[in-house]
Amino acid sequence: MSGIPGDTVLPALPGLPALYRRAVTLAAQRAMGRGAAPSGLPAARHRVDGIRTDLAALTRFQQLLGSAARDQLPSAYLHTLAFPVAMSVLTRPDFPLPLLGMVHLSNEVHQDRQVSAFEPLDVVAYAENLRPHAAGTQLDVVTEVGAGDERVWTGRSVYLARGVRLDPAAPAERREDRPPFAAPAPTGVWKLDGGIGRRYAAVSGDWNPIHLSGPTAKALGRKAAIAHGMYLAARMVDQAVAAPSGALDWRIDFAAPVLLPGVVTTSFSRTPGGGGRIDAVGWSAKRRRPHFTGWVRAD
């Protein structure tokens, strides 16, 4: 995958713990009135070339998700691999929104072909589409994964900075009335114990404190530890299509977070006339609230 002149090339994948520390420092500085938040997104694209897959880490990831430990990378694993590069964009001093507390709204992925664990990969990440949302401001974080000269995987994650207004003078967007949730016929259940956040953090490197334990989550204003969105996404994609062989498209929209420990009732169904598309829903049977909706389509 060829770069664009002006790409900020990082020497290696940045470590996520250091990025989280930088986010905390930035938040503190802004709270103290120093380094006021800019109003636009940085044009920067961050890039890391020649990433090699750690086979032991890959195996741990695959086994935690219950997917077969193939020599082929799970689609969600490519997101995990690219995530530190995206995080390095979001923790730039000129990035306008506070990273901590940002809510992950959705992910949409187009994968052109399956990717082998032995291909060196290039990752580019950038942010775009800063726009108002009923509850604050949202933006897209785009990550692209390339192998050789081709782009093989593109992901677009939508994040929301709750309560942050681009133009404080503008009237707040009207919140759309959501239709009441009608649960489909269940086909399965995910029983998530209190340690799943820590175990997924260990295989994904995403040690965001809101996923690790009750106390660390409460410190950041959550009621309890919540499951990683990408954990839910990875399980959804794997369960929908067990053995992808070609292109793969998927999308997940997150609703109420999954509090840990917790039970997610799931429904997987082939979309009628959907050309092999599988629809997925995860919800809380007890609270009758959706946790996520999504779909996966394999060619």
């Binding site: 016929a185 086909t187 259940v189 995910w190 929908a240 429904s267 997987f268 169904s269 082939r270 049977a285």
Partner: protein
């Protein structure tokens, strides 16, 4: 998709495989009479009785095939070890097979095929299961630490491996009846199917009641006298409630499907309990039976396996047999009218009732099974006439041997043709046709 549709079996059947007889031990409720008996113990007990009944002491049987669903890793060669612990010739080969609850029936299918092909003259097929003496495994965390420890060379590596051990890793894991891919127990899966087919509580209790009544009646008339060997003080299936009534069954509280929007209807009375036991069938060629002056109860005609996509909600988990039966009937040019006995394994009363409802539904049969219309109705008086798993219990891998032996004996007494359908975990089902010899 339908790789065998329309392919009526025109190839000449090489030879006939016959059921000579069977033997099982009474089925015990888990943690009951066989609480301390292992799978090998029970399989040998069933084998001893079969050997004694048919005078097989010192004989080299063509092959013995059996299996267990819940199996210790030390029992990797369970069936061969049971043969070595029996009075059969130690030169009798054996293999283990596992296809969940269809294990027993699949061993019958496999060995009867070998007999038909002339590869063996005789075979013993069946299975065993213990829910009491279940294998308990160490936690995944402890297992990893122990394996890493065994690979460690230096003291430093050993310390590093051990340092990964956490207190919670010390609690062991017991096996569950949960489907690995969906996380739902078999009962919860059936509850979804029960709701989808709108199977009533009353119909389920009625089926359970008939199962107990039919099994009790079979005991009363001595039907099992040459199909069973007492073991550990049991002479009858411990789960049998000869005095149960619809009123008693109606008082039981639902145990599955309580989280659904539809009323929960499945109780401990109309679901099979966890059970311990073993069952075996003696099979042979006509030449073998004649030469050894052994009875021939029934012919094993044909069999079919099917599997369904329950992961994406396309079909109910225990509906595999529903798909296998029409394929088997078509290949053999038969309809339900050609059968005198139906043995549909009662995993849950609702499993049987869902199958019956599905086969009677023309829309479902067209849309899902690819038929021209409804497959047909089954006369309840022909269904599970000597009781089935609700009354007898269901030691997973033993159920196939129990059903094949009982149906073969029924056919030898009353003539006709019988259909067996057994559902299994993983969305599977195995079905077979047996025929009387005259």
């Amino acid at each position: 998709m339908a790789d065998q549709a329309g392919a009526q079996n025109t190839a000449p059947s090489p030879r006939t495989a016959v059921v000579i007889g069977g033997n099982r031990i009474p089925f015990a409720r888990s943690s009951g009479a066989y609480a301390y008996s292992s799978n090998k113990d029970m399989l040998i007990a069933a084998l001893d009785g079969l050997v004694a009944r048919f005078g097989l002491q010192g004989e080299r049987i063509g092959e013995v095939a059996a299996g267990a669903v819940l199996k210790h890793s030390r029992d990797f060669n369970l069936t061969r070890e049971a043969v070595l612990g029996s009075a059969l010739s130690p030169e009798t080969p054996a293999y283990d097979l596992q296809q969940a609850c269809a294990t027993g029936l699949e061993t019958v299918v496999g060995l009867s095929n070998k007999i038909k092909l002339g590869q063996i003259e005789s075979g013993i097929a069946g299975g065993v299961d213990s829910a009491s003496d279940a294998p308990i495994v160490v936690s995944e965390g402890l297992r990893r630490v122990l394996l890493d420890l065994s690979r460690a060379r230096t003291t430093q590596q050993k310390i590093k491996a051990l340092s990964a051990l956490r207190p919670k890793d010390l609690s062991p894991n017991a096996p569950t009846t949960g489907e690995p891919r969906t996380g739902l127990s078999m009962g919860e899966h059936q509850a979804l199917t029960t709701a989808a087919w709108d199977i009533s509580r009353e119909a389920q209790d009625e089926l359970a009641y008939r199962s107990h009544r039919n099994l009790a009646a079979a005991y009363e008339r001595g039907f099992f006298s040459d199909l069973m060997t007492p073991y550990r003080g049991l002479t009858r299936d411990a789960n049998l409630r000869a005095d149960t009534s619809l009123e008693k069954l109606a008082t039981l509280k639902p145990v599955f499907g309580k989280g659904l929007d539809t009323p929960a209807t499945m109780t401990a009375g109309n679901s099979t309990p966890l059970t311990d036991g073993a069952a075996l069938v003696l099979l042979g060629s006509e030449e073998y039976a004649t030469a050894n002056n052994l009875p021939m109860l029934a012919n094993i005609v044909d069999a079919e396996a099917a599997a369904v996509d329950f992961v994406h909600g396309e079909e109910g988990l225990l509906m595999g047999g529903v798909h296998a039966v029409p394929r088997l009937l078509e290949r053999n040019g038969l309809t339900f009218d050609d059968f005198d006995f139906f043995e549909i394994h009662e995993a849950f009363a609702a499993t049987v009732l869902s199958a019956l409802a599905a086969w009677e539904d023309p829309d479902y049969c067209k849309r899902v099974l690819g038929l021209d219309g409804a497959l047909g109705s089954i006369d309840r008086s022909k269904l599970n006439v000597n009781g089935s798993s609700l009354a007898a219990g269901h030691p997973f891998a033993a159920t196939g041997g129990r059903i094949v032996a009982s149906l073969a004996k029924t056919l030898s007494e009353q003539g006709g043709r019988g259909l067996i359908s057994i559902c299994a975990a993983g969305g599977q089902g195995v079905v077979a046709i047996l025929e009387a010899r005259n």
